[in-house]
């Protein structure tokens, strides 16, 4: 570990032009099966960033999975988001020379607070603090969604095929189900419903695609950083809004539809104030259904990784057994939406 700390420290010394650096703390951070995240605190002498500095170094884990963005791609997405004013870790330096640490990595600023969903949802925030946080989430998404194609630096992100991102997703998930091979009548039924009820598409924007409680840091009632950008894609703004509100991400705060924190009215009001865009709540509800299907697909794929022997893991195996929860939510939520229409 300490050799790795020295490697990263030396890299940062070269980037900042510091005379010297002392490693104050270096530790592996939790989270991320695909990436290793390290916290690195340095005392830098001279250079661009003198003094005590807290960084996060993110690099591919040995068992990298090819489905999400590469580290350099993620770094460029983070630059685009940060540049648009999203509260994300500041992307500092990308090292594409695998000789340096053995893998490609990048360095970003470290945010304060915690991303723990339980602490946030079960925590003792007042109603006003919750509203403040939900409004902040709406504002962050509104700023992110100002990033629009084409962008040279994000040319690696594929444009959605077809004229409606929702229908592209339906086709993709049907293909996934074919590949998985296990029959899932509830998911087939939900995909038919999604095909038949697709709303008019919104603009094509940069979506985070995993924007949910657990993937943003909070210090007190202040959001300090939106994390985990490896699934970013061009899509419909409602994909992010629906994912954030999906029942699976309320962590026991079921009646607070925005990530177990607060109300959708506050989210959409703040989104409108920052973006000028009036989002139809029905479209968000539709994308919440899509989110349940997507999470079920991810869970099925994770279980396959375990069962195929590619990555034996109790956690992946148990995730496979969660699919019935998403199916149950679909069977309840779709009739509720129909009744509300």
């Amino acid at each position: 570990m300490s050799a790795l700390a020295d490697t990263f420290s030396n890299f940062i010394v070269r980037q900042t032009g510091a005379r010297n650096a002392r490693v104050i703390d270096f530790s592996k951070l939790s989270g991320g099966a695909i990436q290793d995240n390290f916290g690195l605190t340095l005392e830098l002498e001279g250079g661009d960033r003198p003094g005590r500095q807290e960084f996060v170094v993110r690099q591919d884990a040995p068992s990298g999975v090819a489905e999400s963005l590469s580290r350099p791609e993620e770094f460029r997405v983070l630059q685009a988001a940060f540049g648009a004013g999203v509260t994300a870790p500041e992307p500092l330096w990308l090292c594409e020379d695998a000789e340096v640490s053995g893998r490609i990595f990048y360095v970003m600023s470290r945010a304060s607070g915690t991303a723990s969903p339980r602490k946030l949802v079960k925590g003792d925030l007042t109603d006003d603090q919750r509203r403040h946080l939900v409004r902040r989430l709406g504002a962050e998404l509104a700023r992110l969604h100002t990033v629009r194609p084409p962008m040279d630096s994000l040319a690696f992100l594929e444009m959605p095929t077809g004229s409606n991102p929702a229908l592209s997703r339906v086709a993709l998930y049907r293909r996934y189900l074919e590949e998985i091979g296990e029959p899932h009548p509830v998911l087939e039924w939900a995909l038919n419903w999604l095909e038949d009820h697709a709303p008019e598409p919104g603009p094509t924007v940069l979506c985070h695609c995993d924007f949910r409680t657990g993937n943003y840091m909070v210090d007190g009632d202040e959001l300090t950083a939106v994390l985990d950008w490896e699934f970013a894609a061009w899509s419909d703004p409602c994909e992010d809004l629906g994912w954030l509100c999906c029942r699976s991400w309320r962590f026991g705060g079921d009646d607070r539809e925005v990530g177990g924190v607060g109300d959708k009215d506050d989210l959409l009001a703040s989104y409108r104030e920052v973006s000028g865009a009036d989002i139809d709540p029905a479209a968000v509800s539709y994308w919440e259904v899509m989110a349940l299907v997507r999470w079920a697909m991810i869970a099925l794929q994770q279980a396959r990784r375990h069962m195929s022997g590619e990555q034996r893991s109790l956690e992946l195996a148990l995730t496979g057994r969660m699919v019935a929860q998403m199916e149950y939510d679909l069977l309840n939520q779709i009739p509720e939406l129909e009744e509300g229409q």
Binding site: P183, V186, E188, L314, A324
Partner: protein, 120 residues
């Protein structure tokens, strides 16, 4: 061959030892892993119990009746496959309350094993 205490009993007792004697002394990642193990054992216990009560046969029977009533082949070992295929091919009306009830029955049967606390 009688071999007692049976597998349900062994698993139940082992899970209880894990939760009562070991988990309280654990923290962080190790506690998380121990709770995952207890969760997996709980599912296995409930699966054995459900089977003893005739599940999943009861769910399979209602599926089989539904398929027969819709002129679909009802080979018992292929019921879910047949239903999934018929839905994919748009041969069934998604609004049909009978269909929805069959889907719900199958899902609830899974949840009674995987996570009974999730059933409302």
């Amino acid at each position: 061959m009688i071999n007692e205490p049976d597998s349900r009993d062994l698993l139940t007792e082992a899970r209880q030892v894990l939760l009562d004697s070991l988990v309280p002394d654990l923290a962080g990642e190790q506690k998380y892993q121990a709770l995952m193990i207890a969760n997996a054992m709980g599912m296995a216990i409930r699966e054995i119990e459900q089977r003893a009560q005739g599940e999943p046969d009861a769910t399979d029977r209602s599926l089989s009746q539904f398929l027969a009533g819709h002129q679909l082949p009802d080979d018992p070992s292929q019921g879910e496959q047949t239903l999934a295929r018929a839905l994919r091919d748009r041969r069934l009306d998604g609004d049909d309350p009978e269909l929805r009830s069959v889907l719900k029955g199958m899902t609830e049967a899974r949840l009674r094993i995987n996570n009974p606390g999730f059933l409302k």
